[in-house]
């Protein structure tokens, strides 16, 4: 018994260890909650939008500086043009040159005031050469002013130079403006391309994010639905981690695991208490089954003590034998009852069906002979081993054989067959050619204390104990019968595969 107990508690400990391991595995993963993930996703989107907005602002301000620059260079060019117009008037009509000089002075001021900007756009060298050109133009104008009135060859020379220089200055300003316009145009088109690319990029980012949300929310939901179905079907193995990170679903998994282990213990309690309840409803049966032999013993002993001298010796002996048989009857009931209510699992080992059936048949051999019953046994060779407890299975088959024998008081045939099934079970049939079981009793034969045998002949516990034994083995037992033709009990036992 302690061995059996150890076995069952070892199973319980292994189950508990499995549950604890699952909880541990669930917890071990780095934590990345759904909330963090969603927050991360939105932060990412916000950062991307921020970048694009800042880029747009920077771009617009850049465009604005370029615009301002164009305006300034435009003003500069205007002053130069103005100067050149006065210059032309001077040569054509001999008008005053001072206006031209004033304009050049303004242009020079423009150039100096915005020197840094211009330098940034056209480069240091061009700026310097622009400044030199302007200074030369100014110097030429001043020279011209000092020339005496009237046409001199010196004036003509200066006029040519002045024209060249003016054109050069205007050309340079124009070129700077053109360059700036081109960069502005290319900036605008870059901006447009960037905006469209960004839109496309955002489309993919969003698609990925949507997929990510689906993966981290819808998929686990589907998985949990499968878990629920599995648990509903009675598979109480704990949920183990399938993903890298821990999140709210992990908490759910842990809660479910906790619920499962609770459920398992509750179920065990329930099974035990159901058994106790069954025992409770048995009490009347027990009272009957135990009271009768006790009563018989009591009456016989009372008769013997009261009238010890009145009975002849052989009568006394017969009465004592009666007492003994009643004691045996009571102890058989008690023994069966203990088998029925036994909680701990008997030790299981791989067993050969053939061996069990044959040894049991040998035990019943004498009874078979006495009743004139023929044994027709056909157990296939090489049946897979089953997993079970030899002693309790022998008890089951012995009870089936004895029931069959009792159903054939005038002889007959006991037919035993065993074969492996495809579904991982071995099926053992125990058939007889006896009186059969009437339809109204067929549902009751597995009930405790149901018997049609004479008092003292049967406890009615045989089949109910067998039923619970086979259930403990993970198998089942069924019956088919026809009154007057015979009965067949079929026992299905799981093979020693993975069970």
């Amino acid at each position: 018994m302690p061995e059996e107990f150890e076995q069952s508690s070892a199973i319980a400990i292994a189950k508990e260890a499995e549950a604890i391991q699952a909880q541990h595995d669930l917890l071990k993963r780095p934590r990345l909650s759904l909330r963090t993930r969603i927050t991360m996703v939105f932060v990412l989107i916000f950062v991307l939008l921020g970048i694009i907005t800042i880029a747009a602002v920077l771009f617009i301000s850049e465009v604005e500086t370029k615009q301002q620059f164009l305006e300034k260079v435009g003003n500069y060019a205007f002053e130069i043009q103005q100067a050149r117009r006065y210059e032309k008037n001077y040569f054509l009509y001999g008008s005053n040159l001072a206006d031209a000089l004033a304009n050049v002075h303004m242009a020079d001021n423009y150039l100096k005031r915005n020197g840094d900007e211009v330098k940034a756009v056209v480069g240091n060298r061009r700026y310097e050469s622009m400044k030199l050109d302007l200074n030369r133009y100014q110097a030429l104008l001043q020279k011209l002013l000092q020339e005496p009135p009237g046409d001199t060859p010196e004036k003509r020379r200066i006029e040519v130079e002045l024209r060249q220089s003016g054109t050069q200055i205007l050309h340079d300003a124009q070129e700077a403006m053109d360059e700036e316009r081109t960069t502005m145009r290319s900036m605008l088109s870059t901006y447009m391309v960037t905006a469209i690319s960004f839109l496309i990029f955002m489309f993919f980012v969003m698609a990925y994010i949507a997929g990510f949300l689906v993966r981290s929310m819808i998929r686990p939901l589907g998985r949990f639905m499968k878990y629920a179905a599995r648990i509903g079907a009675g598979d109480y193995t704990p949920i183990t981690p399938t993903r890298k990170y821990r999140d709210e679903f992990s908490n759910l998994a842990m809660a479910i695991n906790k619920m499962l282990s609770e459920l398992v213990t509750r179920q065990e309690q329930l099974m035990q208490s159901r058994k106790m309840a069954a025992v409770g409803t048995l009490t009347s049966g027990i009272a009957h089954e135990l009271n009768n032999p006790l009563n018989n013993i009591g009456l016989t002993v009372e008769a013997l003590t009261d009238g010890f001298d009145d009975y002849p010796d052989d009568e006394k002996l017969r009465m004592l034998e009666q007492v003994y048989s009643q004691v045996e009857r009571a102890s058989a009931t008690v023994k069966n009852l203990l088998d029925f209510t036994r909680k701990e699992q008997p030790a299981f080992a791989p067993l050969s069906v053939k061996e069990i059936v044959e040894t049991t048949a040998r035990l019943a051999g004498n009874e078979l002979k006495l009743a004139g019953i023929e044994l027709d046994m056909d157990v296939a060779e090489g049946l897979p081993l089953i997993k079970g407890n030899a002693r309790s299975l022998q008890q089951v088959f012995l009870n089936l054989f004895l029931n069959a024998i009792h159903a054939m008081p005038d002889g007959g045939e006991l037919i035993i067959r065993a074969e492996a099934q495809d579904d991982g079970f071995v099926r053992i049939d125990v058939g007889d050619t006896g009186q059969g079981i009437p339809a109204e009793n067929i549902d009751k034969v597995f009930d405790p204390f149901f018997t049609t045998k004479d008092p003292g002949k049967g406890t009615g516990l045989g089949l109910s104990v067998s039923h619970s034994t086979i259930e403990k083995h993970g198998g089942r037992i069924t019956v088919a019968s026809e009154v007057g033709k015979g009965t067949r009990f079929s026992v299905y036992l799981p093979t020693d595969g993975k069970g």
């Binding site: 009957h288 009563n295 009591g298 009456l299 016989t300 009372e302 008769a303 009666q322 049609t452």
Partner: protein, 136 residues
């Protein structure tokens, strides 16, 4: 004791019948025993009446109650003693087992049973005299 007081014992436990037969006969009763309640009912329906019927309650075939119904149908003066296997005599009494002289629990003593049968026989005799039936 009263001569010719007839007692019927019905119990599918043959030892009970054997002991009661011996003991009650020793006490001076005329005893008939039946291990088969169906036969007992047949006897009640056909043969002369009994003063006292002692019957087990839970039996294969007709139960103790069936036996009792046949008694009260055939001979109103007959007293019925019911043997029960249950400890809940009170509950049995409260149930509609009226018309029962008394219940006795298994296991019982021969002595107790004999005393109960005697009391029942006395009551049966009175009832009969009252009805003018006489004990012949």
């Amino acid at each position: 004791m009263k001569q010719g007081t007839r007692v019927m014992v019905v119990d599918d436990e043959s030892i009970v019948c054997e002991r009661l037969m011996k003991h009650l006969t020793g006490e001076g009763f005329e005893v008939e025993t039946f291990t088969d309640s169906a036969q007992a009912i047949e006897r009640l329906d056909s043969g002369p009446a009994f003063e006292v019927v002692v019957t087990d309650l839970k039996m294969k075939g007709p139960t103790g109650l069936d036996v009792m119904h046949h008694v009260s149908g055939n001979s109103p003066g007959t007293q019925v003693i019911i043997i029960t296997g249950y400890a809940s005599i009170e509950a049995a009494r409260e149930a509609e087992y009226t018309g029962v002289f008394d219940f006795i629990n298994k296991p019982f003593k021969l002595e107790t049973m004999a005393a109960l049968v005697k009391k029942a026989a006395k009551k049966a005799g009175k009832d009969r005299r009252f009805k003018g039936g006489g004990g012949a």
